[in-house]
Every structure is written in structure tokens, then in C-alpha cells.
């Protein structure tokens, strides 16, 4: 039966203006007479307009899941279902995107077909953790929609929600970026697919996120927005094509090169020579990417590539914002064994988190509570000056075992020297 559209004078105002309008899209769905979701979307628009009038939200959570999984569905039941009965259940399925968010139109069209049949016709690409969010599904249809999306012909799988491993993303990386320092797809799929049990059956103290960026530009926002940030980097000298440097100086002028590149180097590692070639003090360079971003033809990362791993990034709840901080300054990421070692590190940290974090505590808060040095000891990582901005400024520390600790440092240094000599 055709249901009448609610009046939506406030939402209607969001149909004007040049930016694509989500309201126009919602109305298109509500007007799809004959489609199973048309009435649901009419009432959804009604409820949303009601929120715009009263400035309040009207969704509450609950428990909805699919067979065999404990998470991934975000249940939404309306608190104003009497007025808007058709959208009384409006659950979201969080579904993992392909690594790098590549799609072909065949996959996108199949996703649309499934969501037209079982859901609301509304899909968000993508959520803040990277999920494809299939928004708007009745309790009854959640299993049907998932079965269709999870079928081999489509090949999608549920993402994370609740106290669990969450859906992850990787930047475009190797697929279309010359800065990329490791195979993001391999690392992303290697890690997440190893720990799917932690994603699909929530049993951790709280959420745990991995994110993957191919270089320190950190396009996946990993350092702040993940518990375990994998950031591509290199440890040999950056590559300089001096002819291209000269061409850049010629095209843009010396003043611009000095003001915008040389002077903006955070560690004063650059100098423009009298012949318009570039002098790089690679020992002082911190791989910030600025000069490489500016001179993409002339400069590029070195060849001895791998990753830095930072841990503990999170938003405010409960102790305040935290950036992730360096736990692994450098780890080679080239061979299959290197990628295995990264997965093993992930496993060690997840195990530590599962056993030691308090309920509703992110790993960054655990580290804050016990101190980085204790965390390092627990996961078997040696202290390194790259982990700090500067050594402690407070004298309130007990140092009876100073000599033993210093011995460890000198032993490690000797071992490193020995293995370097053996390699030669």
C-alpha cells in the first residue's frame, strides 16, 4: 500500500546548494514505490525530520547478530516507533572493505542489489573505521542480507564492533603512490585475516584497531586513530635525482626552493648548493616527507624499506587524547618472513592486551597506566631512544640496577656490530 510522505520542511532545506544532497537520496528511496524499502524510508525521513525539530536522536541499541558471529551488526530500534512504525528497526551491517578501497562496478552493483532486496537502499562509503556501512535493515532481514553479501559470488565479510578487533584500512599505497614503502595489502590482509576470530567473536577488554599507511604522510590517519599503527619508512639515504633538482629550481626559482623546501625541513637536513643541486644530511633527516612531497620527481624514499610501528593512539575517552608512540622504530618489511614477524608482533600485543587491560581500557591507556618501559618488557622489545622526545626530566626514579641495564645496551650494541661484521 502506498504510504504518504511525511512533510520535511527542515530537511528540504538541505536539498538546495551545490554539494550532493543525502536528503535527495533518501527521498529517491522513499519514492521507490513498489520496492520493499520505500515505506521504511518514508518513516526514516519522518523520524529524521523529527530529530531536526527537537534536536534529539531517537535510536537505541540492542542485540542483533548473525549466526556464528557475535559482532558486526549495529542494532538500532526507534524510540518513536509509534509515529514512525516502518523504520522501527533500522540496523547497520558493518562490512569490511577491500584493502585500499578498490572496487569494480560489478561488486558495487551486486552490493546495491542485495541492499535493495533486503535492506533500505542506503549505503555509506565508508565509516570512520573503514567499514562499508549497510544502513537500515529489519531484524528479520539481517541474516538474509549477510548471507547474500557473504556468498562466494560477492565475497564480503562482516567487520568489527564492540570490544573486539575492529575493521582496518590501508592507504592507496603500492597501488598508486610512489611514496609507499611496503606492500600495504599484504600487511593489512595478513594481519587482519589472521585474527578474524577476535573480530567476529568480541572477547577483548575493549576495541583494538590496526591501520596501515605506506609512508609518514599517514593518509590512513593511523598514528592517532589506531592502537597499532604501521607506518612505512626507510633507513638508508633518500634518493636524489640531481638533474631533476636543478630542473625544479630552474622552474620555480631559488627563493621558492629555499623558502618552501630548504627552510621548512624540521631538522635542518637540507641545503641548496651553489650549482642548484641538493645537499642532504641523511643522518639528521627524520623522514617527515615534506621535501619528497614537494619535489616528487627529484626525491624519493631510499631502498632499505620497512615500517615504524606506533602504539596506543586513541580519542578522548577516558584519560584524554593520545597519539600512538614509537614502539618499533624500524622493522624490515620485504620478505615473507618479515611479514610473518609483523603478524607475530600483532599477536603478542593482542595477547598482552587481552590479558592485562582493564575492562573498557584501550591499550594506550594500559601503557599509560603501567609505563612504556614495563609494556616493552612485557612484549619483549628493548628500549630505544627513538621511542622518546627526550629522556626523563624528573629525578624521582630508582636506579639501583643502572649498571645491569647499561650492560644490556652495550651487549646489544656489540651483538649488532658483530652481526654486521659477520654479514660482511
Amino acid at each position: 500500500m502506498t504510504k504518504k510522505m511525511h512533510d520535511t520542511p527542515l530537511l528540504d532545506e538541505l536539498e538546495s546548494g551545490p554539494w550532493p544532497s543525502f536528503v535527495t537520496g533518501l527521498k529517491r528511496l522513499a519514492n521507490d514505490e513498489g520496492k520493499p524499502y520505500a515505506n521504511m524510508m518514508k518513516d526514516l525521513l519522518g523520524q529524521l525530520e523529527h530529530s531536526y525539530e527537537t534536536r534529539l536522536g531517537y535510536w537505541k541499541g540492542g542485540t542483533v547478530s548473525v549466526f556464528g558471529y557475535g559482532g558486526g551488526v549495529i542494532p538500532r530500534f526507534s524510540e518513536v516507533a509509534e509515529e514512525y512504525p516502518e523504520s522501527k528497526e533500522f540496523h547497520t551491517l558493518r562490512v569490511q572493505p577491500p584493502s585500499g578501497m578498490h572496487y569494480n562496478t560489478d561488486l558495487l552493483r551486486k552490493m546495491c542489489d542485495v541492499w535493495e532486496e533486503h535492506g533500505s537502499g542506503l549505503i555509506a562509503l565508508h565509516g570512520q573505521s573503514g567499514d562499508i556501512m549497510f544502513q537500515g535493515c529489519t531484524t528479520e532481514n539481517v541474516q538474509k542480507a549477510f548471507d547474500a553479501l557473504n556468498d562466494e559470488s560477492i565475497g564480503l565479510d562482516m567487520g568489527g564492533a564492540g570490544p573486539a578487533l575492529r575493521t582496518s584500512i590501508a592507504c592507496v599505497g603500492h597501488a598508486r603512490c610512489e611514496h609507499s614503502c611496503y606492500d600495504e595489502v599484504k600487511a593489512h590482509r595478513g594481519i587482519i585475516n589472521q585474527f578474524l576470530d577476535e573480530m567476529h567473536r568480541p572477547a577483548l577488554p575493549y576495541k583494538f584497531k590496526f591501520k596501515f599507511s605506506g609512508c609518514p604522510n599517514d593518509c590512513s590517519n593511523a598514528i592517532h586513530r589506531s592502537d597499532f599503527a604501521v607506518i612505512g619508512t626507510w633507513r638508508d639515504d633518500m634518493k636524489v635525482d640531481q638533474e631533476e633538482v636543478k630542473a625544479y629550481v630552474k622552474a620555480n626559482g631559488r627563493k621558492q626552493v629555499i623558502d618552501q623546501i630548504i627552510a621548512m625541513c624540521p631538522t635542518r637536513a637540507l641545503s641548496l648548493n651553489d650549482d642548484d643541486t641538493l645537499d642532504v644530511d641523511n643522518k639528521s633527516c627524520v623522514r617527515c616527507m615534506h621535501c619528497i612531497n614537494a619535489m616528487t620527481k627529484a626525491l624519493s624514499p631510499g631502498d632499505d624499506r620497512g615500517v615504524s610501528v606506533l602504539m596506543g593512539g586513541k580519542r578522548s575517552l577516558k584519560i584524554g587524547d593520545q597519539m600512538g608512540t614509537v614502539v618499533i622504530p624500524f622493522m624490515k618489511l620485504e620478505t615473507d618472513e618479515d611479514y610473518e614477524a609483523l603478524i607475530e608482533l600483532g599477536e603478542t600485543v593482542i595477547d598482552f592486551f587481552a590479558e592485562n587491560a582493564l575492562e573498557h581500557e584501550r591499550v594506550g591507556e594500559t601503557i599509560d597506566r603501567i609505563g612504556l618501559a614495563n609494556f616493552l618488557e612485557a612484549i619483549g622489545v628493548e628500549p630505544d631512544p627513538n621511542m622518546i622526545n627526550h629522556p626523563r626530566t624528573s629525578s624521582y626514579v630508582r636506579t639501583d640496577d643502572w649498571d645491569e641495564e647499561a650492560d644490556k645496551w652495550f651487549r646489544r650494541k656489540a651483538e649488532k656490530k658483530g652481526s654486521a661484521e659477520a654479514a660482511e
Binding site: 527542515l10 534536536r55 585500499g100 573503514g130 565475497g155 609518514p216
Partner: protein, 359 residues
């Protein structure tokens, strides 16, 4: 149970393999790119060591998309981009083409279908945002509506590359801040303690968990009207709303309580300076749907002061670092108040312990 009624077992396939979905030129040159540039706003050109070149045209979307919009993007991708697209973390849709002659017709088609082309280099990027009233269970405001309103206002700066550097704006519908850090962030900031429905607390909330959730230990168990409930020490309460998700009867959202705050200077990239958090510059901004004009006014003021005064490559926070906070407040006509001075743990690190003064 007989076999026909057994639910289907999930295939735990995890993260989908992107290679069968990837544009053929990206797949062919995976890990082998040499350099890139931006021939015009909205267009990237990447050149591979193999000599291949791929042009990427970036188009803005509304993120919350109806199937008709997605199919329209598919039609365009089938016609120009060999049936492949990729999405960015800020919900732009990228079309890759191997033939430069396709770039202009593709842009024309996207624009004529209502998808703005831009968002590259030093432009104002698409705003990263959350769910809001459309789908969240704890929202103080809407997300998609705020974003639509703001993107209408900064539309031209999405399509051009005239900012000192990229500008990443974020919005969040509560203080959890799912929208993340931004050069400018527009986030809900509550100004009143939660209103407690004592009839419901005992049945709905796990009280010790709610007590534990409070960052300032302002919540304690109490008997109210003979029922077990919770009470809030309103002098201690910082109105963060953290108790509301685990205990919905502690309603934080209301006309009296829900305001917006504007923050500036957040940055994820490591380029030049280290990543930084955004800093509070304005609060008490009305939560005023459907177009939030008061928030948009402040955002534009900040944005255009930066556009005018920022030097090439300076991100918002780096610009302010150079000119100093006194000049920032002067240039934006915003009030500097006692609330700008941090008093949370570690606050002393944000104080000026030097004789470096801006006059």
C-alpha cells in the same frame, strides 16, 4: 532441527582481496610508481617506472548514498574508467583513466551528474564525519546535514587549490569525536550535566560500569525514591557525556545542553611538524539545524584568515604556530577566555614557560 532449517555458516573470508577489483593499470604497476603531479585541481597524474601513466579524477560524494547514486557512479566508471573506482577515507570517489583524452569528458560528466570534481592538493577536503541523528544512538547533533551545509559554503574551495596547504575539516556529534582530528573540527560540546531518569537506571544500567566510566569520578551509586540509581556531583561534572552510552537514562542531549565547539590545528601527517591534536578556539555555538549558520560563519572566518595569511605548505596549526595565538584570536575576532587554558592532566605542557611573547 533438520538440515534445511540450519542457518548458513559464514565464510570467514576477512578483508577482500583487492587485486581482482583494482584498475588494471594500478594492478600492473603495483609497487612500481615513480612520481606524480596535479595537472589541474581534482586531477592527479601518476607515472610508473614502466612508463605507464594514469590520471585520477577525484569527485566528492554525499557519503550516505542511495543505491541510485552508487549505480550512477558505476555507469560513469563503466563508460570512462574501465569499470573500476576507489574510495578515499574522506568518501571521495576516484576514477582512474589511462588515456588523457578521457579526463575532460569524465570531469564534464561527473559535474553534470552533480558530483563536484576537486579535493586534491591544497584544497578544502571533503569533511570526514559520523552518523548523527540518522543512525547513532547517542548523537547531540546531525552529521550529514552539518557536512552538507558546510560543503555548500566551501564548495569553491573544494574545487580549487588556493589554500596554503590542504584543509581537513571534521565534525563529530558528541564529545567522543568519531570524526577525528582536523585542521578545523566542529564537535558537540555539552554544557550541562546529564538529566537522570531514576525510574530506569536500575533496570537499564550496569551501575558499577557507569561509575567507572566517569573521567572525574563524579558519579556514585545512590538510592533515589527508594530505588537503586546513580547520582552526579554536579560541581565535579565536566559534562562530557561519557556516562550516556552505557546508561541512556542519563540523558546528556537537550536544548539547554547541546552546543557546538570549534577546534583548530589538528594534523595527522608527519610532514614538517609532528602530528598534532586540534585545539579549542570557540564554544557555546548554537546547535542550529538545518544549516547551522553560526558554526559555518566561524569556520569561514578561520578558513579565510588562514587562506589570506598562511604561507605555502603551512597547515592550519603550523600557521598559528608562526603567527602566535594572540594574533589568531585577533584575526578571527574570537574571544579568548579562561576556558581556553587547559587544566586536564599534562596541562602544564600547553602553558608558555618562556619569555617568548607575541606583541
Amino acid at each position: 532441527m533438520n538440515e534445511a532449517t540450519q542457518p548458513r555458516r559464514a565464510i570467514e573470508s576477512g578483508v577482500p582481496d583487492p587485486f581482482p577489483l583494482m584498475h588494471p593499470l594500478l594492478k600492473k604497476n603495483y609497487g612500481n610508481w615513480k612520481w606524480h603531479d596535479r595537472p589541474q585541481p581534482g586531477v592527479l597524474r601518476h607515472v610508473s617506472h614502466s612508463g605507464d601513466t594514469v590520471w585520477t579524477v577525484k569527485a566528492g560524494t554525499q557519503r550516505q548514498m542511495d543505491v541510485h547514486t552508487i549505480r550512477k557512479l558505476c555507469d560513469i566508471a563503466d563508460k570512462y574508467a574501465e569499470g573500476h573506482v576507489r574510495f578515499t577515507v574522506r568518501s571521495n570517489c576516484e576514477f582512474m583513466v589511462g588515456d588523457e583524452a578521457m579526463v575532460e569528458p569524465l570531469i564534464e560528466q561527473l559535474e553534470s551528474e552533480g558530483f563536484p570534481v576537486g579535493g586534491t592538493g591544497n584544497s578544502v577536503k571533503m569533511i570526514s564525519h559520523t552518523q548523527g541523528w540518522l543512525h547513532c544512538d547517542i548523537p547531540g547533533t546531525d552529521a550529514s546535514g552539518v557536512v552538507k551545509s558546510l560543503m555548500d559554503e566551501v564548495y569553491e574551495d573544494f574545487k580549487k587549490e588556493e589554500m596554503p596547504n590542504r584543509v581537513q575539516i571534521t565534525t563529530s556529534c558528541c564529545q567522543i569525536n568519531c570524526g577525528g582530528q582536523g585542521d578545523i573540527a566542529i564537535n558537540v560540546q555539552y554544557i550541562k550535566p546529564p538529566k537522570i531518569n531514576h525510574d530506569l537506571v536500575a533496570n537499564v544500567c550496569e551501575r558499577p560500569a557507569v561509575v567507572a566510566r566517569c573521567p572525574v569520578a563524579a558519579i556514585r551509586p545512590a538510592m533515589v525514591d527508594g530505588k537503586p540509581s546513580l547520582e552526579v556531583d554536579e560541581k565535579k561534572c565536566i559534562c562530557c557525556g561519557a556516562c550516556y552510552p552505557p546508561c541512556p537514562p542519563m540523558q546528556i542531549n537537550s536544548d539547554e545542553s547541546t552546543r557546538l565547539a570549534i577546534w583548530v590545528g589538528g594534523k595527522h601527517s608527519n610532514a614538517r611538524s609532528k602530528p598534532t591534536f586540534h585545539k579549542l578556539v570557540a564554544a557555546g555555538v548554537p546547535n542550529n539545524p538545518p544549516r547551522w549558520p553560526e558554526a559555518a560563519e566561524i569556520v569561514k572566518k578561520i578558513l579565510y584568515a588562514y587562506k589570506e595569511d598562511g604561507r605555502p605548505w603551512e597547515r592550519m596549526g603550523e600557521w598559528i604556530e608562526r603567527i602566535g595565538w594572540p594574533r589568531f584570536f585577533e584575526m578571527t575576532d574570537l574571544a579568548f577566555t579562561r576556558h581556553h587554558i587547559d587544566d586536564w592532566r599534562g596541562a602544564r605542557r600547553s602553558l608558555n614557560a618562556s619569555a617568548h611573547i607575541h606583541f
